[in-house]
Point group: C2
Chain length 149, copies 2
DNA sequence: CATAAATATTTGTATGCACAAGTAATGTAT
DNA sequence: ATACATTACTTGTGCATACAAATATTTATG
């Protein structure tokens, strides 16, 4: 459905303005697909993002700064995210002995299993994106890369 | 910059997954351009969205339900948004005499001036999108429409 | 006409996020 | 060695958001 119809607006003054509004609107749409998906699995999007980063280094630990730099949403408060993951038994935290300002975060077995569970169901989530062909998905992705510069 | 490099990930298992992450990441990027822009003008993105909807009907009033249906972010709590706008003197609220369940919201002169101020500066904001050509902006916008179905 | 259903908005609450200030450990310069 | 700056993480606070329940008004039904 055209963005003009979605928000009941006649037309946009220019294509960039249309793109801006469309990106904001589409983001809400994406969140409405993604949030319930993760909620059903007992995670938030960002908690899952951290778990995936931890798996990338497993069994090596990852420190907070590195987690932050690899996150899709850089504004997250890593301290409190990790608190939640530890509370749920998906991660552990230890002070790094080489540099005691740093915290080593590791994935647990339980966290690993939860990630596997997410992976198993991921195709369900991606189905929502199949209105675009694979070529179109790739094209849009590349244009978004270009947009951000 | 490629999304893989932004989040330090080697590569994605498939193009749809890449698109999903790219949309989420790009949304954060967009917010980082948009939020400070509106903050400098003493508004939030959503407050501006409501003001623009009110202008669309001015001098006729708009009721809450219609505002909600036209908003880019449908999850907003319209009651509390309008409270803020009235507090700032940008809008007024009256009970509709024809149907007293409904609230008529109108733009004030002050609100109109604030919108004009935003319009005057809008080109600054849109500059951030000029990494894409006008054709590309249009293309991406159309693909996003298609994605949502 | 009384009652139930539907509509439109409001309020409560728990959670999440943004931003700023705070703490603790380490590095650097004199 | 001491003082200052930097780094890495933590905490506090106010504001925004999501979701559910509540209220008030109108419409529909027997």
């Amino acid at each position: 459905m055209r963005i003009e119809d979605e928000i009941h607006q006649k037309e946009f003054t220019d294509d960039y303005r249309r793109l801006l509004v469309n990106l904001l609107f589409t983001n809400n749409w994406v969140n409405q697909q993604v949030m319930p998906f993760f909620k059903r699995l007992g995670l938030t999007l960002q908690q899952h993002n951290v778990l995936a980063i931890l798996r990338g280094q497993h069994p090596e630990p990852v420190c907070f700064g590195d987690i932050q730099n690899r996150m899709v949403d850089r504004n997250s408060n890593v301290t409190r995210l990790i608190d939640k993951l530890i509370e749920k038994g998906f991660a552990t935290r230890d002070i790094c002995q080489a540099n005691r300002r740093m915290i080593e975060v590791r994935l647990t077995e339980k966290g690993m299993k939860k990630l596997q569970e997410v992976d198993d169901r991921f195709p369900e989530l991606l189905e929502h994106f199949h209105n675009l062909s694979q070529e179109e998905a790739l094209l849009v992705s590349n244009k978004l890369d270009k947009l951000r510069g």
